[in-house]
Subunit: 332 residues, 2 copies
């Protein structure tokens, strides 16, 4: 059983995945991405993954066999497990609990496709709908406090398989980054009675220079204080605090806006490694006035070194206004 | 002139280094580390670096020529510059200022040595003394609020040159990570009237299981909530808030403790890529009861992916107790 441990200074929780424990000599260079034939995410190789949790399947097909469109399985090396109790306890000045949670992989297509941009809109809408459904399902479990949906593309982003997929991690605590966003936006709300993200959207819509695109009810911007070159945030233009509460029509908006931004990034940067992550409110909250869910897309083009790690102070060599201009000019 | 921009939600400052601005097509794989002959940090190649700011030199030798022991120069691609004024201003809801500060490189030896552990103790004491002297010198400039001393070793840590060196970045603001440590330790102090780091040292000294070594007035531990495999913190056992105020005898203690820990890491992990960084109090403070300076050493053995970036929630596959045991058992 892995453990969750809390840093007593920062309040940051860390997963100590005891089950993965290795000897020091095991820290050899990371393995190569497996070639097409051996890909555990391809149709026909269902036996190579843990058991199916959920899937969109052809009528008559059986779980853990071929005939699916999108498949959700447990991560083969899960950081957290669903079974067990939290067993929260102190250890002197420290705090810990059991590594209870969920760690799922959403295999986005049976074909060996490496980018979600190569998948038709209707199919991407099903993927986003599965994001929503898995969040709503796991949110029912009162042990869990937050869920993170994310995607790693390319080895430099941390991906170990190239077959297009996303991940969902469900946690019994609120990650420090989410907590800091909550605290920061609550502070802003206290002084001004407005959502800071709504204010950002208003200013960006007026100034235009950092807007990448506006599609349906979503806006994509290069954030004013971008940490990374070509960082892009996608936000619903109307205030919404919880991703999993999106409506059917907003789901189509996010599909079109996300695909457009990713196609523009892939075209401008020649299919760069990137991550995206959905930042959304904790499960034990409802319709919060001060927090606004959004997607952060971060291409991995620059090295992140000791300075950034130690300080949280990023050096970005590309003006956000310039990045937005490059992306705006891509013709689709 | 680069800019400092503040994220309006998190309060995180980012350096937008306009001068480094590149076209998207310039983001090609990073260049190889230059070979020995072309190393700009080797004696005889002084013309390959920006002008010398400070050096320990042989009597009679001239600045920017051979005959030195340790040399401090500006970073060739500085993120911040000393000249100019801050020109703090708002931009709607955003905040910015000019990229004023300092970005220095400490070239630790004239020989092409790749690890500080291959340098004799007396020489390492001179390096640490230069850390201290540069901090004290730049602290006099009232525009500056904080200084970060750090070292990147190996390409995976972000180092672009293998010749052993450190860097110093001086900032006109307090980086978010330092601010969060200050806030967290002040919170602890408010409730308990004690320094949280002093409490950690007390508990670790008693429990022993996470202690790597204790040398003179310093203790090295694998922190309870380590983010990375084999992460090690070195702390002065007596409460001290400012690194640059270390005494002559403590300077020898840190030399011996730091070298011992690095030799143990190099032996256990076969010369891993790593970063270290000195976490210390902002310049505009004095002898703070609640904050405790320390060095954080983070080997770079695991990939950091979207999940960690988006959440600040790290997955560490090695128990800190196990890492400390491996390191304790290394015979020097």
């Amino acid at each position: 059983m892995s453990q969750l441990r809390k840093d007593p200074i920062l309040g940051r929780w860390v997963i100590i995945a005891e089950e993965r424990a290795r000897r020091p000599t095991d820290f050899t260079p990371l393995p190569e991405t497996p070639s097409k034939g051996a890909c555990p995410f391809c149709e026909g190789n269902e036996h190579m993954t843990p058991k199916e949790i959920f899937a969109y399947r052809n009528p008559g097909s059986s779980p853990n066999g071929p005939g699916w469109k999108i498949r959700v399985v447990s991560n083969k090396y899960p950081a957290l497990r669903v079974e067990g109790n939290l067993d929260k306890r102190g250890d002197g000045i420290y705090d810990r609990m059991n590594g209870i949670g969920a760690h799922e992989v959403i295999i986005e297509t049976p074909e060996h496709v490496t980018s979600i941009t190569d998948i038709p809109d209707e199919h991407v809408a099903d993927i986003i709908n599965i994001y929503k459904e898995r969040m709503l399902d796991l949110k029912k479990d009162k042990r869990f406090l937050s869920g993170m949906l994310f995607k790693n593309v390319g080895a430099a982003s941390g991906a170990s398989l190239e077959h297009t997929h996303s991940q969902l991690i469900i946690l019994p605590s609120v990650p420090i980054r989410v907590k800091q966003e909550m605290d920061g936006s609550m502070e802003f709300f206290k002084y001004r009675g407005r959502c800071v993200y709504c204010d950002i959207i208003r200013q960006e819509s007026e100034q235009k220079e950092r807007v990448v695109c506006e599609i349906d009810s979503f806006i994509a911007i290069a954030p004013y204080a971008s940490r990374f070159p070509f960082e892009v945030w996608i936000l619903p233009k109307q205030h919404q605090s919880h991703f999993e509460d999106i409506t059917e029509s907003d789901l189509w908006g996010i599909v079109k806006c996300l695909k457009t931004v990713l196609i523009k990034l892939e075209s401008t940067l020649e299919r760069p490694p990137y991550n995206y992550m959905i930042h959304t409110s904790p499960f034990n909250t409802n319709n919060m006035e001060y927090y606004h869910w959004h997607i952060e897309i971060t291409p991995r083009l620059t090295r992140v070194a000791g300075f950034e790690w130690g300080t949280g102070f990023y050096i970005n060599p590309v003006l956000p206004e310039q990045a937005a201009k490059f992306l705006r000019e891509v013709q689709l």
